[in-house]
Symmetry: C2
């Protein structure tokens, strides 16, 4: 080693020792004939004292240069209690500038100086010098180790599945890789190891997990990257409670070991239908309540035309009651939320303890007037077809949560019984909400085998579940269909004939012929989990070398032009 | 759980318990009114006894069907001491066939029945049912956990580097991924995270490791796959001894924890030059000695034309002495080895204790006759230019090792001081043997800066090292160039001008301007390490879902045709 100690370990116990330290010149301060240098490495900062004999060196020293210094540990007069090494300093004897830093492209450690994210990403290796970023990378690694130890203890085997795989028939867009050997043929990067992990169950691996890179060629957003890391899990001879208990164990051990937070188990469960009906979201943020009140019957004969029409058309009237008295401008903002959901606005009634006001106050029946005058506060009301109405009111609920700063503490829960299907306007058909190997809920098997109307699409619950933390979907999974007859019915429901089925899912359907155990699993978005645990703004903050917002890698300057020879070898031409 | 116990845990202590087991029907034997079924899962095999009331089920039962059985644990009369569960059996009460297995495509557990590797790969999920394969996957996972724990203990951080990266300017062929967003541009799958790990050193991560998938679009061989797993390591403020000590620690802990073998540390070291000069290989298998004897001076004036010419031309004469008396047909086989190295054959002298024979025996000077008549045995002699001669004799040495079954025990060693350059006939220039960031050995810096002649190419040693186990290169690394001036000289030596350097290595060269610590590292081929540890025949035996010999994935049927729409979106046309 070119050093005897790191910059984070010397204390007054080491007084008098001759040491060699190495690191970056974090700060350089000159006082008369001396210079003080804060020497930084991953482990801490140690103060160096350079006297006149090193003047030639320190006079031309630049910040962020790499130094190797030998010297003696001395007690400091002015102890710095905030530094690990604040009791000592090094009287430098020799000083070598191993690498001189040129002018930096941005102020690494000074957040007051503006630097765009683009610049920071271009020089990510400099941005990663910040303690905050290094703690993040350490946190990420510790989380991975905790996860792996947890699964090892539970007798799981981590199996590495291929990254050069077959293009998938469903789901998001694949990244394709042209084959050089078999012209006009392509590999695909996996969107998830879904089929491989099910095959591992057929292989009798019994308990599989993997922390694995997955890929989706979809346009990026704040919480999306082309490549992301997934904690992938599959188990045999289980039902949903076994998978959920395992996932709760993993989540709890992460929260307790990394954040010192004890999570109560089992986590609360809410069905998909109830989550939407009460909170207007399939990933409800229950750090605050503000649940919906169903006022459909109240408005059935209210004389208010829009509401009556909604009820007659089979729709609903839903309300949020809020103790606060909202101002007109506050309500204006909520109306904007309603508009993003395709509604013209939101009806509201306000009772200040004395009188009723609001958009529909004057038109209310006496009965309703009485109802809304019981408690001081504002009631926000929306009416229409069930799903769009609850989703819009769900949007308003979240906006209120932000507005009144209600998103405090921690909300961890399961959303269960997701619908097996959703309606595709493009295909004019029900399509799987997750994938065609998701089991229907017990008792609903008989609904399969025939095409499903748009109206009934959402009415067949499945054995699929999501884990939701603070309103963010962190993971999801299901118990899979392994019964041959049920699988055939499922494909029939989806209008997939045998030829197409074989083409699309042949590998798995074939494998299921040779003895498949009942199985199910879950996959966690690891980056998203870290983002929620560390409460960072963007998923890019928890990834060492992320792509930028527009999907480029500014540091590597990629993607980039390929060699003509290479393209020729691949038999490709760019249009 | 759909079971109370696994098939590997019940013993006579459990006698009388009502249990539910699940697994595969490994064997079915019918005796009179009873049937005996060996139920198998990952954890073991338990014998089930099915009586007449279950006759309807067991009569149509097929091997490898998945069963869920409830029953009572009973002591067995005929104890099977070779089975974990050999003391007990289950008197079945209910039996459910959860999945009936069709006729199997090959005999999974019966190695006497022929099945091609191709069939086994197509149905890999069935081949993985074999205990041997499951133990392999468990071994692989345990190895990964031991490695990760080792590095965590040493304060390393595992950092996940991008898989969507920039095409690399050097090395093997990249797999290219067309970008949909930026037409005519490509991502590349990394051949190794070399540049990223060096950037992490610039970032001050200090100690990095990663178990990471890497990719090379090269034609496959027995020990190669398109995608392979690498144990990637980089450290700051170190010299080669630090990196080697760390790698020795990791290797030792793997051998001791997984195989119960204690390795003596430090591992022996041999320079590249000595390895070739004595054993004719840069990855010598030292499970047996058979080192070369230099007989150049003996043949200088021997009167034997070929030998004299070799010596006069600056070449060498090298010999292997063997106590065995080789027959003509044995020597014929060694000549075939010499031919694969471009030599017409091998000279030999045999002394049976009585008289000399062999290809050159009659032409030897008295002096040499005396020399070869000291010990009973065969001497094999080759002459010519140093490198081809030692390589050819190295090939013969390995053939002898196989022939006389000398490859026993374990040989772990370092080959150090690899040449910095090797000669490229294509480029008519010296090119880096590893990569252009490898440091020359101290004291050889002055040789850089000017073009190097073909003759001198191998004469500049570097700070690069390989770890070799049983004659297989398991890993390699180097101390990197971080000195700006030296880097410029290196690029000049390679004939790379500044513009090209910036284009090829700009990211790293730029990063080095802002304070780069001295650093070095190593990368292990993890699959190959496992192959050596488990002594399997092919690298495919230690990978869950490998590609076949011709680079296809028979199970997934990949690569395959891509969707026309997808290609259109990518702006690609196949020629």
């Amino acid at each position: 080693m070119l050093r005897t100690h790191t910059c984070g370990e010397l204390t007054k116990k080491d007084e008098g020792k001759e040491v060699v330290l190495a690191g970056w010149a974090h700060n350089i301060r000159k006082f008369g004939k001396k210079a003080f240098v804060d020497l930084r490495d991953r482990y801490g900062i140690t103060q160096l004292v350079l006297d006149e004999k090193l003047k030639d060196i320190y006079d031309s020293l630049t910040k962020e240069s790499v130094l190797i210094v030998s010297g003696k540990v001395e007690k400091r007069k002015d102890i710095n209690p905030e530094m690990q090494t604040g009791e000592i300093e090094i009287m430098a004897n020799t000083l070598v500038v191993a690498s001189k830093a040129e002018r930096l492209p941005f102020e690494i450690f000074n957040p007051s100086v503006e630097s765009t994210e683009e610049t920071r990403l271009k020089y990510r290796y400099l941005d990663l010098r910040r303690g905050e970023m290094q703690r993040m990378l350490e946190f990420r690694f510790r989380a991975e180790m905790i996860i792996r130890n947890y699964f090892q203890m539970k007798e799981f085997v981590e199996v590495e599945t291929p990254q050069l795989s077959k293009p998938t028939p469903e789901g998001a867009r694949d990244f394709l890789i042209p084959s050089r050997v078999i012209k006009k043929n392509f590999w695909a990067l996996p969107q998830s190891p879904q089929q491989y992990k099910q095959l591992l169950m057929v292989a009798g691996i019994d308990k599989y997990f993997q922390i694995v890179r997955c890929f989706r060629d979809e346009d990026l957003r704040k919480d999306r990257q082309y490549e992301f890391t997934q904690i992938d899990v599959e188990m045999s001879f289980v039902d949903e409670n076994d998978v959920m208990a395992l996932a709760e164990g993993m989540t709890s051990v992460l929260y307790s070991q990394l954040l010192g937070i004890k999570l109560d188990k089992p986590f609360p469960k809410i069905t998909w239908h109830d989550a939407l009906d009460k909170y207007g979201s399939d990933k409800p943020d229950l750090r605050f309540e503000l649940s919906f009140v169903d006022v459909t019957t109240d408005f059935e004969d209210s004389g208010l035309r829009i509401f009556e029409a909604a009820v007659k058309g089979g729709g609903v009237v839903k309300a949020i009651f809020l103790r606060e008295l909202l101002t007109r401008s506050e309500i204006k903002k909520l109306e904007d939320v309603a508009k993003t959901h395709g509604f013209p606005g939101v009806a509201w009634v306000k009772y200040d303890g004395d009188e009723l006001s609001g958009s529909i106050a004057s038109k209310l029946t006496d009965n309703l007037k009485q109802k809304f005058s019981k408690k001081k506060g504002t009631t926000l009301i929306m009416a229409g077809e069930w799903l769009p109405t609850v989703l819009a009111l769900g949007g308003i609920r979240l906006a209120l949560g932000d507005k009144f700063n209600l998103k405090k503490g921690l909300s961890v829960l399961w959303v269960t019984e997701f619908p097996l299907f959703e309606w595709s306007e493009t295909l004019k058909s029900a399509t799987p909400m997750h994938h065609p190997f998701t089991s229907p809920l017990k008792g609903f098997e008989a609904h399969l085998g025939e095409k499903i109307s748009k109206e009934d699409t959402l009415n067949i619950p499945s054995r699929a579940y999501d884990i939701v933390i603070n309103g963010v979907e962190i993971g999801g999974g299901s118990i899979r269909i392994t019964d041959h007859e049920l699988q055939e019915k499922m494909l029939k429901t989806l209008g997939i004939n045998k030829t197409v089925a074989q083409e699309k899912f042949g590998m798995l359907l074939d494998a299921f012929k040779y003895g498949v155990p009942p199985h199910g699993g879950i996959a966690f978005g690891f980056d998203r989990l870290l983002q929620v645990m560390l409460q960072t703004d963007s998923i890019r903050d928890v990834i060492a070398f992320p792509k930028n917002k527009s999907g480029r890698a500014p540091m590597e300057d990629a993607p980039s032009k390929a060699d003509k020879e290479a393209l020729k070898e691949l038999g490709l031409r760019c249009k």
